[in-house]
Structure formats: structure tokens, C-alpha cells
């Protein structure tokens, strides 16, 4: 009896989140490709040159540092984009029609704009400093990337709020709650649960998109990888070097994607 119950209890908790077997297999596959490409590069390399693994190991810390900068930008962008997006999303369900329409227009504009163009815009339009506050380029990049994120989060918030049955609003109104109280005490706490999976999905997409900042001259993981390739001036390490960076992103983003899926399954509409 106890033995029978154990897997169900486990399944209810954390283990279903990451499907350890599947992710391990994926990772093993990726590592295999990585090793194969390194081995192939090694075989093709002239004997006088340093071995491919040793070159990769030499550059790995620097590239990883750049990758950490991608993560820093992704976290900053997500934070800013979420705050702005929540306000914009709530404005979209405001009872005040002009605000609702304006919020809708802003949301649609930023959701349907190419991220790179918005990034360029932010880099070129924003000044080097506002009053006493300096605006370094990484901060400008965060602002630029947070605009499309804001638009997408606004839609997530709007959809989440609208997914709550109107009966909740009605009974709250009959109990004399104000609209604002109903939103913050009753609707949003229920809607947040439904917003989390798409929000995480948005974050994973954003993290991968942060490599765009290398185009505007910020020293991220991609910039570092290119710099390493230029410094080594060897074509044989091109594939393994980029693959190393890709693996860093994969190891970070794949668990997020898995968790999103299982959360989606767990929160599947049950009212």
C-alpha cells in the first residue's frame, strides 16, 4: 500500500516539474553534439596548434561572464517590463474608456514591433544621463528590451483578469467591495496563478533575445564568443565555441520551459 502510494505523492510534488529523465537525455544529446564537433575540430587541426578542448576551457570563463551579463540584463528587463506591463494590462481593463483605448494602442504598438528596432531606438534616443543619474548603455538596453516585454506582459495580465468569471465581480459588488478592492483582493490573486506560466515563457524568450544587445556594442556572451574567435583566428573552433554558448542558454532556459509546461498542466482551468 505504502509502496503504491509513493509515486503519486512524488508526482504531486517537485519531480514532475522537470521530468528529470527527459531533460537529462536532451542534455546528453547536446553534449554529444558538442563533443563530436570538438573532436572533429581537433582531428582537423594541425598538430602545432593548441587542442580544441584546451582553447574552449581557456575562453570559457570569459564567455560565461558575458553570459552572466545576459542573465543580468534579462532579469532587469523582466522586472521593468513586468511592472510596466501590469499597469498597462490593468489600464486595458479599466472602466474608463479613453484610458482603456490608449492602453490598448500602446500594447499593440509594442507587441508588434521588432525588438531590435526598439533596442536601437532606446540606445539612440535616450541621453547618456538624466540629471545626476548616468544612463550606461546596459541600462538603456534594459529599457529598450523592456518595451516589447511590457506589451506582452500587458496582454498576459489582461487575459488573466478577463479569465476570472464575471460572477466573482458581481458577488463582490453585491458585498459592497469597490472596484479597486475587487481587483486587488479577489480577481488578481486568482488571476496571478494563470498568468505565471505565460510570464515564465515570456522570460525564457527574453533571455534568448538578450543576445541582441551584442549588436549595439554591449559585452555580452555573444560578444565575448566572437571576440574569442577573432583572437584565436581559427575556423575549426567556430562550431564548438558557439555551441558552448548555446549550451549555457539551453541549460538555463530548458528547465524554465519544462516548469512552464507542468505549471500550465497543473493550473489547467479548474473553477
Amino acid at each position: 500500500m505504502k509502496v503504491l502510494l509513493t509515486p503519486r505523492i512524488e508526482g504531486f510534488g517537485g519531480s514532475r516539474w522537470l521530468k528529470p529523465l527527459a531533460s537529462t537525455r536532451m542534455l546528453a544529446g547536446l553534449a554529444l553534439v558538442f563533443l563530436a564537433s570538438a573532436a572533429w575540430a581537433q582531428a582537423a587541426a594541425p598538430a602545432a596548434q593548441a587542442s580544441v578542448p584546451s582553447v574552449l576551457i581557456k575562453w570559457a570563463p570569459l564567455i560565461f561572464q558575458g553570459f552572466l551579463f545576459n542573465l543580468l540584463v534579462s532579469v532587469g528587463t523582466m522586472a521593468l517590463g513586468t511592472v510596466l506591463g501590469v499597469f498597462l494590462g490593468l489600464a486595458q481593463v479599466s472602466p474608463y474608456a479613453p484610458l482603456r483605448r490608449a492602453a490598448w494602442a500602446v500594447t499593440q504598438f509594442f507587441r508588434n514591433a521588432p525588438w531590435l528596432v526598439l533596442l536601437f531606438y532606446a540606445m539612440l534616443i535616450l541621453p547618456f544621463q538624466i540629471g545626476p543619474i548616468a544612463l550606461p548603455s546596459w541600462l538603456k538596453a534594459i529599457i529598450g528590451l523592456s518595451l516589447p516585454v511590457m506589451g506582452n506582459i500587458a496582454e498576459i495580465v489582461r487575459g488573466g483578469v478577463l479569465s476570472i468569471p464575471s460572477g466573482q465581480w458581481e458577488s463582490a459588488e453585491a458585498l459592497a467591495f469597490t472596484r479597486r478592492q475587487t481587483m486587488w483582493l479577489i480577481v488578481l490573486p486568482q488571476a496571478v496563478k494563470r498568468m505565471i506560466p505565460p510570464w515564465m515563457n515570456q522570460y525564457a524568450i527574453l533571455t534568448m533575445a538578450t543576445t541582441l544587445i551584442s549588436i549595439v556594442g554591449i559585452q555580452d556572451g555573444l560578444t565575448m564568443t566572437r571576440a574569442a574567435l577573432v583572437a584565436e583566428a581559427r575556423t575549426d573552433i567556430l562550431v564548438p565555441m558557439y555551441l558552448m554558448l548555446l549550451m549555457m542558454f539551453f541549460i538555463y532556459c530548458y528547465p524554465i520551459a519544462r516548469a512552464t509546461l507542468s505549471l500550465e498542466r497543473r493550473f489547467a482551468v479548474k473553477i
Binding site: 460572477g167 453585491a174 458585498l175 478592492q181 473553477i271
Partner: protein, 250 residues
């Protein structure tokens, strides 16, 4: 007008109420006087405007024309103090509409704490007594999803009562329930009525109307076709439409 065994002063006075949605007239020339302690049932076919009338009484739906006074408050007033009105009028819905993220106890406590700003300990004490009154002792910590329909509906009744209303509106509160759980809810309402709570029910429960109501209104097509004490209206309806309706449901 009524059997009048426990009637007090008029508390809900509806005069010449009309309600339209665009070109559609849902209520026409509705007149009712309901006294404190009275239990009134509104019956009639679907789409006859019964629920809309209830929603007009607590201003969930604005009236187009006419007047509704609840304990002296004019509901049709543009400067209506909705808080004052809704403190006097509790409403229970067909779909329970409990707050799904809160326990039964929290559902009952929320409005007194956040709307009336009452002391939390006092409110909790009262909420526990209300849950006991609707026979849900032991279910305080349960979430709505863990309760049966009848239990949820009784939490909804306790939640409304926590605001200390003078009038309770019940909008087809047993329509979504199976016969067994239906009974639990009807017993609760009957007890409330016996304690002297003013109750206005939109219902299809003819047995309940016959036993508990002081006065029954039959509505069809947005007008009151006929009204009277339950024995008379349900036993010997004067109007052809009432007869046809009762033949179908009884």
C-alpha cells in the same frame, strides 16, 4: 394583501419600475411592497425578468424608470450611496460565486473586514457563528473547490449575512443543485425567514413557495401577472397564464 402573521413596516417599495436593455423591455410597471419579516417568492417562466428585478433592488442593474426604495434609500437616485444600500441588502446567486482562493471562513470574513473595516477578531468570531448557523461547523478551513454545491451555497448565505443585511435576495439559489443538497439550502433559508429576516426569492421551488412564502408574485413577459398569498395563487390562480405555468411546473 398577505397572510400577515409577522409583518412590520414596508422595507422594500417598488413603484412603476421599468427596465430596458436597448430596444428590449425586460420589466414593465412593476409595483411591490415588501414589509420587514416578510418572505416573498417571485415565480415565472425563464426570461420573465425575475432575476433582473432582484438585480435592480441592489443596484447591480440600474432601473430605467420608476422608483425602488430600500429602507428609505432611493436606488434610482443618481447619487446613490451604493455602500449604504448594499449593507442593507444581501444577495445570493445561482452559481454561489464564492471567492475560490479563500477558505469558507475567509469568504465570510472578507467583506466585514475590508468593506466595513471591522475588527478582525470580532469578525472571525461572528463568521464562525454564521457558519455554524448554516450547519458548516468543521468546514471553516475548506476551500470552495472542496465543498459540495449545497455547502458552497450555504457559505454564500453566511457570507451575505456577515454584512448584517436587513433584506436578503436569493436568485434561483437552488437551481444548480441536486435534490438532496437543494434541501439543505432551503432549510437554511426557511430558518432565516422564521427568524424574521426579510427574504425575496426568485425560485422554481413551488413546494418551498407554498410552505414558506407570505406572498407570491407570478411574472411573465416583464409584468406581474398575478400576486397573492401562496395558497390562493398556487391553489386557485385567477389568470390563465398563471394556470398554464403552474400546470407545467407542478
Amino acid at each position: 394583501m398577505t397572510t400577515g402573521h409577522k409583518l412590520g413596516r414596508p422595507i422594500v417599495v417598488i413603484e412603476g419600475v421599468e427596465k430596458t436593455f436597448g430596444a428590449l423591455t425586460v420589466l414593465r410597471d412593476i409595483n411591490m411592497t415588501i414589509s420587514t419579516g416578510e418572505t416573498v417568492c417571485i415565480i415565472g417562466p425563464s426570461g420573465s425578468g425575475k432575476s433582473t428585478l432582484l438585480r435592480c433592488i441592489n443596484a447591480l442593474a440600474p432601473v430605467t424608470k420608476g422608483s425602488i426604495r430600500v429602507d428609505g434609500i432611493e436606488v434610482a437616485d443618481e447619487k446613490l450611496d451604493k455602500l449604504a444600500l448594499r449593507r442593507k441588502v444581501g444577495m445570493v446567486f445561482q452559481q454561489y460565486n464564492l471567492f475560490a482562493h479563500k477558505t469558507a471562513l475567509q469568504n465570510v470574513m472578507m467583506a466585514p473586514i475590508h468593506v466595513l473595516k471591522q475588527d478582525k477578531a470580532e469578525v472571525e468570531d461572528r463568521a464562525r457563528r454564521l457558519l455554524a448557523k448554516v450547519r458548516l461547523t468543521g468546514k471553516e478551513a475548506s476551500y470552495p473547490g472542496e465543498l459540495s454545491g449545497g455547502q458552497q451555497q450555504r457559505v454564500a448565505i453566511a457570507r451575505s449575512l456577515a454584512m448584517n443585511p436587513s433584506v436578503m435576495l436569493f436568485d434561483e439559489v437552488t437551481a444548480a443543485l441536486d435534490p438532496e443538497t437543494k434541501k439543505e439550502v432551503l432549510v437554511t433559508i426557511r430558518e432565516l425567514a422564521a427568524e424574521g429576516m426579510t427574504c425575496i426569492l426568485v425560485t422554481h421551488e413551488m413546494g418551498f413557495a407554498r410552505e414558506v412564502a407570505d406572498h407570491v408574485y407570478f411574472t411573465d413577459g416583464g409584468v406581474i401577472v398575478e400576486d397573492g398569498p401562496p395558497a390562493a395563487l398556487l391553489g386557485a390562480p385567477q389568470h390563465e397564464r398563471t394556470r398554464a405555468f403552474l400546470d407545467q411546473v407542478l
